[in-house]
Symmetry: C2
Subunit: 213 residues, 2 copies
């Protein structure tokens, strides 16, 4: 399989860094082709703005929706966006790994979604291309994430509520919206206060999950 | 009242720009004191990283949680974060205005939350300061947002589901988590395909909402 691994964590020596290294090793060992976008290492710009387009349809007022719909046809996206779109097109499966910041993605990954999975590329409201007719149909997507808080806090009835419900704004409203099949999210709770033993176990568990893909 | 208005949109001449201008005028006319953070205009950096701290507790591995908990005591946050924290401390009410990107905040605003509402400042898991004992208790918060998609799509049973549910990861898991009282979100659906007349009506409706605060 062709696997595109999108990863966001500010510290390579973190548990997230070890998870990512484990994943890349396991996937390659299994014979998959892997491309990695390490957003912090790439210094990826997460802020959608007028500079995302090398040509503008409307000069006076910047309307990101209109510009993206046009840029998909003309190729007028900035080079960093084009590069990432190329990896998305290439992939059979896209894995997104990040630590939970306030029940959601860190800004650097949210901005990757805002800028790369643009209207006209991942979905198109003008032509009604979404969900069953989403433009990334045929691909799969998977979230891999770590929390600081314990599982109870992130469960139905817990203080924050079920984390999987919060993640639906990504799994359902982004991935399924664009026609992708969603694999079960791999969530590691309380990762920040983990013993060394549990850390090793979690890495092994994750390696197995990826081996069984 | 002291009102801190946090605003994110890439185009000043957009409907969001008009909403923000309407808000600042209305609030000042009503006699409130207002501070504005226009994140795009400020070129606000949304990427949490080691540069957020002017001194480090742990040099070898960057752990944002530990560094933030310490920096609240020592003042070791970078100047841009300190500036925003000052406005939060000052305010009675914080208004967050942004366009919905994929049922959530644009990256530039998510990053404001990631960096400014840091552990030890807005909440503190070490001392169990959250929800009823959240560190921003006594303040209120309000979301003001626009969507491209129609209300049906963002309702219970609609393709995306109830937008207010998605926004709970901000209203509940950020604002209430930090002890703030949450005012009803002001949502304007289908803002991108609005007639001039409806635009004027929506601005007037928003002005009234703010006058009645």
């Amino acid at each position: 399989m062709k696997i595109f691994y999108v990863y966001a964590h500010p510290e390579p020596k973190s548990f997230n860094g070890a998870l990512k290294d484990t994943a890349i090793d396991a996937l390659q060992e299994k014979g998959h082709e892997v491309k990695l976008s390490d957003l912090y290492a790439m210094n990826f710009n997460p802020v959608l703005n007028a500079g995302d387009f090398t040509e503008r349809k409307k000069q006076d007022v910047f309307n990101p929706f209109l510009e993206a719909i046009k840029a998909v046809k003309t190729g007028a996206f900035s080079p960093d966006i084009k590069e990432e779109m190329g990896k998305v097109r290439w992939a059979d499966l896209i894995v997104f790994q990040f630590p939970i910041y306030f029940t959601a993605m860190p800004a650097i990954m949210k901005g990757w979604i805002d800028r790369v999975l643009a209207p006209g590329f991942g979905f198109n409201p003008v032509t009604n291309s979404a969900y069953d007719t989403g433009l990334l149909k045929g691909k799969s997507a998977m979230l891999v994430t770590t929390t600081g808080a314990p599982k109870e806090m992130y469960s139905e009835g817990g203080a924050h509520g079920d984390l999987n419900k919060h993640l639906e704004s990504i799994t359902h409203c982004v991935f399924e919206y664009m026609g992708m099949k969603v694999l079960p999210s791999h969530i590691i709770y309380e990762a920040s206060s983990m013993s060394k033993e549990r850390g090793t176990e979690e890495l092994e568990k994750y390696r197995k999950t990826l081996f069984d893909l």
